[in-house]
Each structure stands twice: as C-alpha cells, then as structure tokens.
Amino acid sequence: MLLELKNIWYSPEETTESVAILKDVSCTLEDDRFYVITGPNGGGKSTLAKIIMGIYKPTSGKIILNGDDITNLSISERAKLGIGYAFQQPPRFKGITVGELLSLARSKKCVGSGCNYLFDVGLCPKDYANREVNSSLSGGELKRIEIATLLSRNCKITVFDEPEAGIDMWSFSKLTDIFEKIHKGRDVTTVVISHQERILKLADEIILMQEGVIKEKGEKIVLLGKIMKGKNNFKKDCLGRVEKNE
C-alpha cells in the first residue's frame, strides 16, 4: 500500500497559542519498505504516527492511502483498511486476557498456533494466554504483548512507536529478529520509531525528524553513517546535548 502524507500541520486543540507540533510534513511511504523514524524527543515522531492511525486529526493537510483520501476516516475505519499502530505505552485492561486481546486483534479466536505470536515475542503462550492484561504484567511484558497483537493483525502498514522502550536486552535481540522477519517475509510497510542503532540498521530508509519537520529522508546507507557520526544539523543546548523540547 502506498501512504502519502501531504502538507500535514498539527497543533493540539487545547493550546490557545498556535504551537505546531507538525509543520508542513509531507512524505510517501511505499509498499514493502522498512522505515525507521528517528530524531530527538519532542520532534513530532509519535504525533506523526498517531496522525497516520487517525488518533490525532491533522489541523490541515491530507492523508492518501492508495489514492484514496482517508484524512477524515476514524481510527476503526483505518484499522479495517489495514493500518496498525503499536502504542509506546500500551494501556492495561482489567478482566481482559492476553488471549482475548489477541482474538480481538485477529477478529477470530486465538487458540493453539493462533497464539504463536506470543512465542515470537519471547512469551510462552501457555503461561500468558489466560493472564489478564492488568497491572500484574510488567511494562516489558506489556510491550511484548502489544507487539504480538500487531503481528497477529497482518496489517498492510504498521507503525511501531518505540518498541524497544522498556524491553530487556534479551528480548531486544529477539525484537530485532522479529522486525527482520516481518520485513523479509511479507509484502508490507513497516514504520518503526526508534533511537536504537540496531533497529536503524534494519531500515531501508531512515526518516529524521526534528522540531516538527522531516529534516532528512533517504536510503539507510547514505543517512546512517551521517547520523552515527553526529553530522546532522541538530540544535545543541548549552551543555552540547541535542536539544529536547519535552
């Protein structure tokens, strides 16, 4: 699927002054490509992901999926078109089990091999399928379940919002394996928001965001070296650190 973002502006409704989080963002995400969006905190990465899923409505601009304008479609309608979003901080649900959540995601019952997505994220389906998605799960377990939920949906375009945040080292190497597998195995578009070099290395293309604009977008081979050497144009604060807006 071809997803085009055209001149996206976004300012949160609750602010009185016009603080634009996204400023005239345009880009095209192609089929069968693995994109990694990176850049300093507060640069607009998560906001862009939520605009794609429909959680936020752009103040202006258009979102085009395979030539159709989906700017005004709801979250559910976009989900049905094959767009998926893995939360950076997934919510918990009292009384709903991991198996039930996976069943909701797949829109069919998760039994036997249907729960294998849990195995892919390093969780034993036998131990987890009947556990409630409540506060008894650790942050890392919750993140892995979130990723399993997205894997089970077979989306055409999936945006993972900092999947590595809160995941331990062992699971992290497993996580990079998963992204490699998704990328190789299926004809889908994967977008991962990440700060991790190992995930950046998996990308076909890297999108660098800062201060609400796409600073650079291009082939990994070209951009990665530049980013790693710190040769980007990030503004530095008085301590010489990359400036954070948060």
């Binding site: 979250i75 559910s76 979003y85 909701l104």
Partner: protein, 306 residues
C-alpha cells in the same frame, strides 16, 4: 419448568436449562414448586418461618445444590430464610439467585436471608445472581443478606452478581472467619437508569491465620447510585484485603468507604478503592484493532465485570 418466561429467568440466575443435577429447590412467587434431596444433601421446609434448611452431610464431595427463586407476579413481597449446614470436609457448589419479571406497576420484592454454617475443612463455592426484567413501572427490589460462619480450615468462595434490571438492592454480608479459614467474596454489580445499589459488609477475622479477600467491581451508568461499605476487622494474626473498583459513566454516583480495623499487632489488613471512568486510551487501543467506539466500550465493560 412452567413456561418460557420461567425458563428464561432460571437460565439467567442459575445457568440452568431444564431440571438440575443433584439437589434443588425452586421457589416461584413465594411458594416452592419443585424440590429434590439426595443421599447426601437434604432439603427440608422450615417449620417456624418461610424458607428451607439445606443439610450437607460431612464428607460430601463434588455435589451441587441449586436454589433459584423467581418472581413473575407484581406486588409480591417475598421474604425467605434459608440455612445451610455444610458438614465437615465436604466440598459443594451452591447456586442461588433471584430473577424478577415484573410487567405490572406495583413493586415486586424478594428479601432472602442466607445463613451458612460451614464445618471444619469444608469447601463451598456459592454463586448468586440477581436479575430483573419486565415492561411495567413496578419496581424490582432485591435485598439479600448473607451470614456466614467459617469453622477451622473452611474455604468459602462467594460470587455475587447483579446483572441488570434490579431497581433497588440493599445487600448485607456478615462473616466470622475461624482459624486457618479462608473467605473470598467477589461482588459484581451493574446499575443503570435510576437504580440504586448498596452493599454493606461486616467481616471478622477471628481465628489465627484466618484470611479474607473481598473484590468488588461495579459499573454505574445512567443516573444510578451505588454505595459500598465493606468493614473488616482483624482480631488476631490474620490477613485481609478489600478492593473496591468502580467504573462510573454518564451521571451516576458511586461512593466507596472501605474500613479496616486491627485489634492485633499481627493483623495485616489492606484496603484499596478506586472510582474512575473508562480510560480514553483503552477505547483508542481497541479501536486501533478495528472495533467501533461502542464495541470498544462494551468490550471493556464486559471484561471488567467478567
């Protein structure tokens, strides 16, 4: 069973479809309409007041007792006293519950007082469902009282569910928990429109190493009102945990007042209470899986009361 209406009420409150296995007593509009005792479980009419005695022989294992009550007449006020004598080392399931179908304009009310004497080492699972339906303006009122005595090493689990359609309920539960005995109470209530529900509890941890766990989950919709007042006291070395968790919606009101009192330095008592609306991100999460907003809300509520 008499007719379709009765069958539906009984299915709602007792998960029964047809005549139950094991011992049973079915009460309709204030009179018994069917009863069966078994070799180990005797059900007999009380002589001094309306109600029955249920006597489970010591050592009875894996048997069940169903005692549903249904009310289909308007203007009926039914008061019943049931006493359960659970013999030592037995292990039984008791399914109670009351369904009211009131199409009339006068109130229908059922007040059930259930007294349990649970012998040493006995295990009981008690399930009680309350349900109301009908087109009339007559109120459907249920005021259950559950009084329990747990002797040494007894384990009792109570599941009390008010599904919907009950206009007013005042629930009172009292327990005395003996040495090494364990009591778990799970209470689930959904109220809507103008309904009101009150649940009051007096729990005494009397014997050494007695423990109690109370889990109350409720959803208040419309203009309904709910009050929870669980009181827990620890008289000796014991453990107790009360958890009241409510989802509030529309213009409802929920009041939770958990109270814990320790009379002993080794009494470990905890209470937690939380009231809040459905978190917006929960709905968003389910919508990203393809559910509509309404479906997402229903899924969250269903899970919460499961």
């Amino acid at each position: 069973m008499n007719n379709l209406l009765d069958d539906n009420l009984i299915a709602q409150v007792a998960d029964l479809h047809g005549i139950p296995q094991g011992a049973y007593n079915i009460r309709k509009n204030g009179v018994g309409i069917g009863r069966r005792s078994t070799a180990n479980i005797e059900i007999k009419q009380k002589l001094d007041k309306p109600g029955i005695d249920i006597i489970v022989k010591p050592g009875t294992r894996g048997e069940s007792v169903h005692i549903p009550v249904i009310i289909t007449a308007e203007g009926l006020e039914d008061m019943v006293y049931n006493t359960f004598y659970i013999g030592e080392n037995s292990d039984v399931l008791i399914v109670a519950g009351c369904g009211i179908h009131n199409d009339g304009n006068k109130k229908s009310q059922h007040d059930g007082i259930h007294d349990f004497i649970v012998g040493k080492g006995a295990r009981v699972r008690y399930v009680e469902k309350h349900y109301g339906e009908g087109e009339g303006t007559g109120e459907r009122i249920l005021n259950p009282q559950t009084l329990l005595e747990l002797q040494e090493g007894a384990r009792v689990e109570l599941e009390m569910v008010q599904i919907r359609g009950v206009d007013s309920t005042k629930r009172y539960t009292k327990a005395q928990v003996g040495k090494n005995a364990y009591l778990k109470i799970t209470e689930k209530i959904l109220t809507h429109d103008q309904q009101s529900a009150e649940s009051e509890m007096d729990m005494e941890l009397k014997g050494e190493d007695a423990s109690i766990q109370i889990i109350s989950r409720s959803i208040a919709r419309g203009k309904s009102k709910q009050i929870f007042y669980p009181r827990l006291s620890g008289l000796t070395k014991c453990r107790g945990h009360v958890q009241c968790d409510a989802i509030i919606m529309d213009n409802a009101m929920v009041r939770a007042i958990p109270e814990i009192t320790a009379y002993h330095a080794d009494a470990q008592l905890i209470h937690e209470a939380a009231i809040g609306k459905i978190a917006g991100e929960q709905i968003v999460k389910l919508m990203t899986l393809g559910l509509s907003e309404k479906e997402a809300e229903e899924t969250i509520l269903k899970g919460f009361l499961k």
